[in-house]
Symmetry: C2
Subunit: 605 residues, 2 copies
């Protein structure tokens, strides 16, 4: 393509709101423009790279036997009511009433649409397993869209769904998808960190997230430098680290005893006052949990809780309170806590609730003698000795408390926030942490949707069964932005060959005379060799052309100048050293370079 | 691809609501399924044909130098307020308020989105002309979605927009687009009727619609068998046909005179009573027009009309009334009438308004002495003589009325409904008519959007100017459905090669032994030759396989049976005679047939 027939409005300045490098460079290179908050238009150059990412994703989905469908983007609300997500998706799901008062949704994801379709089509085990996907427009009404394509409201997602007769089959497809995702990210030139993840609002039992490192990432990743363990901090575990010396390290035979702690407010003050350490203090927090799917009958403080009938709701208890104990130097991870309580959400109880339940002002909660709510102890607590706790009275603590002897929690679980410096659960090495953005996610959904939406098939014995499901997503726009985040320098984008809008650009110093002839020849030869080539035929100064081509990041630049003819200057965007090549050999040489780069990315050599 | 890894749920029965053949066959062939009223999912086979249509459209857009963009599907309401269409688009436009109370629209079309984008990017005449397009999801909230893909709510449209410094440049692009459209329809195997069309709610001055004949078409097409004139009846003109004999044919010297017509209610009764013909009767209808953009100052009955200030609204008069006269045997075409009145809509006035304005019961309106509203006369009226009109009093008519002598209309115009049997405006031959559906539409929009939304560039002299615009749409889904409407028989779809989901299918009578070996060999050879080939490896009876392959309409079928080996049987879906071909030559022969069909459609030979 010739530059004169391309629309590529490059910019020197970008809006202040563009704080991440991919957003800045996509704007500067004339690849996208903002239409409204979180709504973007791809310009021709940006669309070329977008389509390349899209096609690599499509290619790898086809390679694992997934079949492409195209559901509508706008879908009826009733299928969301069937699955129960009309209620749980919250205000991020864009809901509409149309002219005939039908409830509609601009799809944020498509479990419902595919189950609604396939429950009418799948009748026999012979039709399973089946993997389906789409690459289509999605909308999530982000309350703070920002970082350009990294967190837009409208975006394109590849979402795949698989249906199986048994767990083994689901696991096979799940593994295939995991491998396909690794190939996709390698082919687009991205370094991703596959991490085990909490499966969050999607529900389900097994999942893996594909993360890229990002300063502005939404996720805290916990990483082991030795064995490669990687997890979202919402799911990370760590090796036990019992206190081995100093206060709290040794079992005591003294009975627990009350001690007056007047005007002591913080853990630090308490530790100073009692000459102990936070590692010897049992912190007790009162949590309010919502939609708790556990049977709490007979537990302390639960007799008067409102309990919904199971047939009316997946939640047994709309609201329940819990006392959560953890070692004084650690923090509770609320996602892990909610998962253990099978609650849709947890939050610290209000001061009034704390006072009502503990019978004391805030700051004196403790597990000893506590009977107003079930007590959950983090694993760290059960390894403590001779510890200090609140005594459920103002200005009073207990010391010499022995967990197990002086109180027995209803549940012990891993609810601590794992941080850099904690020890790897696998190998014991010291974790480090990074911020990351999620590009892809694979899940084992199980029966969540096939059960709620009534999808059945007949097995070998003619018996009705529900299929088990997996789902597999990749954000196309976010992947594109992440490629730029990883591949750029001070001059602009440095596209990997596989996703560059053009493989090569021919830049005549002036598009006239012998230089024009040579540039035209090279352009035709490259095009004939199947190379996607741009010809910068603009009447601009060479410096402007070079700057623009560096900015838009075309991998190979061929400069045609009369000083060098009959040689031309070939320079790789990512490397830097220009080499002179005879014009007659340039097309073949560039074509070879392009092919080598492409096959290196696709792992073919 | 092998049938065993395709998902193609063919049906014997379809829902009763599927009344048109394309809807029935798309469902039966397992190409689409309905998710909700007017919302469809493409299944893998349907998507293959859809993408082929899409790519032919894309190819021809690129060939005329249009650049592909990808705006968001959900767009902000404020750009629709700027253009004024927030008000005029009506309830068919899907409007949403999101969580932060922002007004959003699921795009029904994209003039606003592209003008909003490009007004910030285009600053100089040097950047013009510019043609841009997208192929993207659209939504129109059809009140009665039906006929499957023919009239869905969500659909995919290719919409292109062009921007120009002058009319000549706009006309050049308009002509190029017209040619591209003709190529697109030829390549997908469709017979279209290009017709001049009323430009309707889009506004603008020149337009052409590309129609396909359809029993359930929305449009009445007026066609000349001799010269090829074709027009939507909303815009069709016809040759004048003055009455040359009998009543009303000769000028009268008698002055007009009142005649009592008691208990005469219909035109037929009146003609019998007066021994005259409907061709001698001037029918006078009172119309109410909305948003009239004409200056009516000083006209009869207009002094008291509410008149909006031009700067507040494009409409000078929110409501105005007109008396419309036409020859008694003809009907008023309200679209033509509205165009002449520059009104957004016209409708017959209520009985109360008729009585108020004519001073008589309904049925006695007439132009003679009428002074309560401006009088518009159809061209037919001015060629009448010695005619009869209502006399603005109950049970009274005038006879011997001479138009021009006894009344002078404010405006004369062509507002008649042209019908089959009228004479061609070009050549005088007798028109016939057909019902049609619109697949594509090209418009000269002029300054409508660049003016309302403030888009400017600097011309050669540094003076600020507005660009003039064109817009060009094609419905991709509707085109796909129309191809099936044109190409089917009692057994199913008969795909043109260019849009078939597969070019050829290999059907082994049984997929085992020598037949399996031969089928596999053929399948590999065809695939290696670049032919999109399906292998029916199912364990079904041959009859079931043949029926399915006829239903899904694959152009070339190759049957591998042990009776014929080492020959195979090649049969074209559209023709019918099977021929035996040696297995060793079959792939080359089929590949040749496929290539010939493809190049015949693309007009390359």
């Amino acid at each position: 393509m010739k530059m004169s027939s391309l629309f590529m409005p490059t910019l020197r300045e970008v809006p202040a709101e563009a704080v991440v490098v991919s957003h800045r460079l996509l704007l500067r290179a004339g690849m996208i423009r903002k239409l409204s908050n979180g709504l973007f238009t791809y310009l021709p150059l940006g669309l070329k790279s977008f389509r390349k990412v899209e096609n690599i994703v499509r290619d790898e989905m086809n390679a694992v036997g997934a079949l492409e469908f195209k559901p509508s983007v706008v879908v009826p609300g009733d299928i969301w009511r069937e699955s129960g997500r009309w209620e749980t998706m919250g205000p991020g799901m864009l809901r509409i009433k149309n002219r005939v008062d039908q409830e509609l949704v601009v799809s944020p994801t498509a479990e419902e649409a595919f189950v609604a379709l396939l429950r009418s089509e799948i009748s026999s085990y012979k039709q399973l397993p089946l993997s389906v996907y789409q690459i289509n427009t999605k909308y999530r009404d982000e309350i703070r869209p920002r970082y350009g394509l990294m967190r837009a409201r409208e975006f394109t997602m590849k979402d795949a769904y698989s249906f199986h007769t048994d767990d083994k089959s689901l696991d096979d497809t799940y593994q295939d998808m995991g491998k396909a995702y690794r190939r996709i990210f390698r082919r687009v030139g991205l370094s991703v960190i596959p991490v085990r993840a909490d499966s969050g609002a999607m529900g389900g039992t097994g999942s893996e997230e594909f993360m890229v490192e990002s300063e502005v990432g939404d996720n805290n990743l916990i990483l082991c430098p030795k064995c490669g363990y990687a997890a979202n901090d919402e799911k990370a575990a760590c090796a036990p680290d019992p206190t081995t010396e100093g206060p709290g390290s040794a079992k005591t035979d003294s009975p627990y005893a009350a001690i007056e702690t007047p005007k002591v407010r913080t853990i630090d003050e308490l530790c100073a006052f009692l000459h102990t350490s936070p590692r010897a203090f049992i912190k007790t927090l009162i949590y309010k949990a919502v939609n708790v799917e556990l049977d709490l009958a007979g537990l302390p403080g639960c007799a008067s809780l409102e309990r919904k009938k199971p047939e009316n709701s997946p939640a047994y208890y709309p609201v329940a309170f819990f006392a959560v104990c953890i070692r004084g130097d650690l923090d509770v991870n609320e996602v892990k806590l909610a998962a253990n309580l099978k609650a849709s959400e947890v939050e610290l109880a209000s001061d009034a609730d704390v006072e009502r339940l503990t019978g004391a002002p805030v700051g004196f909660a403790g597990p000893v003698g506590f009977a107003s709510a079930p007590v959950l102890a983090d694993d760290s607590v059960m390894a403590m000795h001779d510890s200090v706790t609140g005594a459920l009275k103002a200005d009073l603590h207990f010391e010499h408390v022995e967990p197990g002897r002086d109180f027995s929690p209803w549940m012990t679980a891993d609810v601590r926030t794992v941080v850099a410096g904690d020890r790897c659960a696998n190998c014991g090495a010291e974790y480090y942490s990074k911020k990351g953005n999620e590009l892809g996610h694979i899940f084992k959904l199980g029966y969540k949707y096939t059960k709620s939406m009534g999808m059945f098939y007949l097995d070998e014995n003619g018996k009705q069964q529900m299929p088990t499901m997996g789902c597999y997503g990749i954000g196309v726009d976010r992947t594109l932005a992440s490629i730029i985040e990883e591949h750029n320098d001070e001059d602009g984008i440095v596209w990997p060959m596989s996703v560059a809008p053009f493989h090569a650009v021919v830049v005549p110093i002036k598009y006239e005379g012998a230089m024009k002839d040579a540039a035209d020849k090279l352009y035709s030869e490259l095009a004939a060799a199947g190379i996607e080539v741009l010809l910068d035929d603009r009447a601009e100064r060479p410096g402007v052309k070079f700057k623009d081509m560096d900015l838009i990041g075309i991998p190979v630049r061929i400069v045609v100048g009369d000083k060098n003819l009959p040689n031309v200057e070939v320079k790789l965007r990512k490397a830097g050293d220009a080499v002179l090549v005879p014009l007659s050999e340039a097309a073949a040489s560039v074509a070879k370079t392009v092919r080598e780069e492409l096959s290196a990315l696709s792992g073919e050599n």
